[in-house]
């Protein structure tokens, strides 16, 4: 299993790879795009500067460093859709990515995928979580568009992930394991929270109901969501046995120390599984929960990707 981590600026590249990341993914909004559509209306799924490389030269250097250290570098072009006019920009970005040596693009828009394939651009495509891949038949759909890998929806259980992987030979799958838990299905969510000073976090804050019941209480539970605390470490044991390709860390725009802690925890647990092929699931869960406590400074929290395993 590889570790796929977000990177936002040049200074992070070495640190993330040295901590254990095998693959990095990034965003870059070209100046001409920003001038026309604003940064909030980004060419990728993040509409704020902290989640973007600010200079093409930095991006180029970051790719070079990653390759020198045998790490892959992916670029996100994963908004829901592009207009006909925007394809001109998006396809220029595809060309730029190829020139820079980017290893794969993370994409959502069917139109962009079709255009990339039609033009014969020699670059692998990874289907973004924004595409809503929840079952093996969706994978069959995308396979016909000649995609190489898929980021699975973050709400899938381990069993559901297993069903997809088992019936999808030849496709590599990424699963979310750290940070960035969302209350809703990202691919079908319309909340705008691209820049907190404009939009806040409307998916979790601000609700007041006409009456209260169990459902409103459960909804209110998200109010204090700390996206930095999302964790799915317990599931690594199963992910290894299921044949998961990459363990994805959410968090473009998150602080570097947060990313490093997440990578270190994953790296430690991955090594534990490699060095101890006969470790029991029960023993692994203890190690995973201990690793969680070490990086989060507290026991398992409510922001668990796989609560079926955890103590909560």
């Amino acid at each position: 299993m590889k570790i796929l981590a977000p990177v936002d600026h040049l200074e992070e590249v070495n640190k993330l790879i040295e901590a254990g990341a095998d693959e990095l993914y990034a965003g870059f909004v070209p100046p001409e795009w920003e001038a026309k559509y604003t940064l909030v209306g980004s060419i990728n799924k993040r509409g704020y500067k902290e989640a973007q490389f600010s200079q093409e030269a930095d991006l180029k250097k970051a790719v070079e460093i990653a390759h020198q250290k045998n790490a892959a570098f992916l670029l996100t072009l994963n908004v829901n859709y592009y207009s006909e006019e925007q394809y001109e920009f998006a396809l220029k970005e595809v060309e730029r990515a190829i020139d820079l040596g980017i290893d794969a693009l993370i994409v959502t828009d069917i139109g962009l995928i079709l255009k990339i394939r039609k033009e014969g651009f020699p670059i692998p495509l990874k289907i973004s979580v924004a595409s809503g891949v929840l079952n093996p038949a969706v994978v069959r759909f995308y396979r016909k568009l000649r995609i190489e890998s898929v980021v699975l929806d973050r709400t899938l259980s381990v069993d559901e992930i297993g069903e997809i992987i088992e019936s999808s030979e030849g496709i590599s799958f990424d699963v979310f394991v750290m940070l960035g838990l969302c209350p809703n299905i990202e691919s079908f969510c319309s909340f705008a929270h691209y820049k907190t000073d404009i939009s806040g976090m409307p998916c979790v804050e601000g609700y007041s109901f006409d009456f209260t019941n169990k459902a409103t209480a459960n909804h209110e539970r998200w109010k204090n969501l700390e996206r930095l605390r999302g964790c799915g470490l317990c599931a690594l044991y199963d992910f290894k046995h299921l044949g998961v390709g990459s363990l994805k860390i959410v968090g473009r725009g998150f602080p570097t120390p947060v990313k490093l802690k997440a990578i270190e925890a994953l790296s430690f647990l991955r090594k534990l599984l490699e060095d101890n092929p006969n470790i029991t699931r029960e023993d692994f869960l203890k190690e995973a929960q201990s690793a969680h406590k070490k990086i989060q400074g507290q026991d398992c929290n409510p922001y668990c990707y796989h609560p079926y395993f955890s103590k909560i």
Partner: protein, 263 residues
């Protein structure tokens, strides 16, 4: 202009006045646990036919389990042999499944897959959203030639959208796709972390034994950030917009009335 009415609760069928409509939409759009049983599908289909209406089955996004729930419905629909019957797909897996069946049913691309970005319209006067941004978010993912051709090749000749609070710029007049709009409820978001199915430790809908306690319940919320009210039905949140002005001139030839937010 074709007028459709959309019911997702089988119990509401007999109380609903179908006069003035030409088509009945029936099914679950957002939750695989609420996909109707074959008997319910037959009941709804018969109800539509008795009233002289065409029939559309609505299907949600699904996991592998949901694919299994849906398959018998497609078998039953095929057996009806009614070429005017449609299936709304909100999951490309369902679309693949329909294409793989021997008796091809008529797929319609649902509003989850036309990928409108609805969020900016919710703020109303509570936030000043730049015009540039609003204009960038008034279309859909299905208006460019290469996508239209692809959808046509997949047997899709109709797509569906919401009536955006911040305005619809899509114009299907010269696009080789028919288009429908849902009203008055438009989608905001949908979740598998369903508030009705959480038992304090885990989500029962994800572990496979959903109690379906959401049925019959509707929550209405105010939101500090938004001018719009939020209507919560099961695992899904909606806004409401009644005004359909101008949509007919944009090549939208079917209006789908939702008496209440669907499941």
């Amino acid at each position: 202009m074709e007028k459709a009415i959309y019911l997702s609760d089988i119990k509401k069928l007999s109380d609903t006045d179908l006069s003035g409509y030409q088509r009945l939409y029936f099914g679950a759009e957002f939750c695989e646990h609420l996909i109707p049983k074959v008997e319910e599908l037959k009941q709804a289909y018969d109800f539509a036919k008795q009233a002289g209406l065409s029939f559309t089955l609505v299907t949600p996004y699904v996991t592998a389990r949901g694919l299994e729930f849906a398959e018998p419905l497609f078998e039953a629909l095929s057996a009806f042999g009614d070429e005017n019957t449609e299936v709304v797909v909100n999951d490309y897996g369902i679309l693949s499944m329909l294409r793989e069946r021997p008796n091809s049913l008529k797929p319609v691309l649902g509003r989850l897959l036309t990928r409108q970005r609805r969020g900016w319209g919710l703020y109303g006067s509570k936030r000043e959203i730049p015009d540039k941004l609003i204009k960038a978010y008034q279309n859909t993912a299905v208006e460019v030639d290469i996508v239209v051709d692809f959808l046509n090749s997949m047997g899709v000749n109709r797509v569906e959208i919401d009536n955006l609070l911040h305005g619809v710029a899509s114009d299907f007049t010269n696009i080789n796709l028919d288009a429908s709009v849902y009203y008055p409820y438009g989608l905001i978001t949908t979740a598998r972390y369903c508030s009705w199915a959480f038992d304090g430790k885990k989500w029962l809908n994800i572990t496979g034994s959903c109690p379906r306690t959401c049925r019959g319940n509707l929550l209405v919320a105010d939101h500090d950030f938004f001018e719009a009210k939020i209507y919560m039905r099961g695992n899904t949140q909606f806004y409401k917009k009644d005004d359909l002005d101008g949509l007919e001139s944009k090549g939208i030839d079917r209006f789908i009335f939702e008496p209440e937010p669907p499941y």
